[in-house]
Symmetry: C2
Subunit: 159 residues, 2 copies
């Protein structure tokens, strides 16, 4: 099946009131989509978060992400900064996946790392509390989020 087919089937289930939750087949489709990505983009002003994400992509045997070097302050004035940042990258660069990390919602709401596919569909995500609460380094926080985002759809580290 393709991701389009699993989404079409899930829509049909929702529309007929027969949806019973996520299936193993749907999870496998998300994993394939991530594993088969040839071009992964990470939008950010500096390379620090990209390096942290690449450490984890390597652990999971996935291709390295490319840094889209842009100022992302403009995304922070929107309601969902991390998602806006991801969509901004998706709409401006050819890629199979976008991984963006930014604020979840209002100032103070902590961070979100989100993985979008080539159509902007949300495949997975992970959240962290604000830095002033967890106190981790940026690199550690981003790596933990990246592992959580991949792990929660059933992907496993290979090294």
């Amino acid at each position: 099946m393709s991701l389009e087919e699993t989404i079409r089937n899930a829509c049909r289930e929702s529309m007929t009131g027969t949806r019973m939750g996520d299936t193993e087949r749907e999870l496998a489709e998300i994993r394939d989509c991530i594993r088969n990505a040839g071009a992964i983009i990470v939008p950010n002003r500096t390379g620090e978060k990209v390096s942290a994400i690449n450490v984890v992509l390597d652990e999971f045997g996935l291709v390295q992400a490319t840094h889209l070097q842009v100022r992302t302050d403009c995304c922070d004035i929107t309601r969902m900064p991390a998602l806006t940042k991801a969509l901004m990258a998706l709409d401006t660069v050819a890629c199979d996946l976008v991984i963006a990390r930014g604020r979840l919602g209002v100032p103070g709401s902590g961070s979100m790392l989100v993985i979008l596919d080539r159509k902007g569909r949300i495949l997975s995500a992970a959240l962290s509390p604000p830095h002033i609460l967890h106190g981790k380094s940026i690199a550690d926080a981003v790596q933990d989020e990246m592992r959580a985002a991949l792990g929660r759809v059933g992907l496993e580290a290979v090294r």
Copy 2:
């Protein structure tokens, strides 16, 4: 300060390139917004998740949520089912907060519990992997998400 003021200040910081991350003041504002909520709505078809959310609201000394009993299948055909469910409730019922729990993104992407304020701004959220991966009961999964969503903005259980 009000939430509007902290958001306005954060916008100004982002627009002038001086934003340094979430502040204690912003977190305090989010906590006040949650603590001062007099009417909390949880949209759902059945009462099971509402009961689970109310267990945690009680632990944190917050007011009990009211069940908005609606079919939410229609939300599942959107790109962000949990967020759509929350906005649907916000737009149809008078309330100070909405707490909604549903799918994060595409089928297979697991669940999101999201807390919106009276204007639909995202105050906090929490994620879980798909049920077939974590195997918890719905009540346990929702309670864990609710504790995570409150804890990540610095709220603590009082009993």
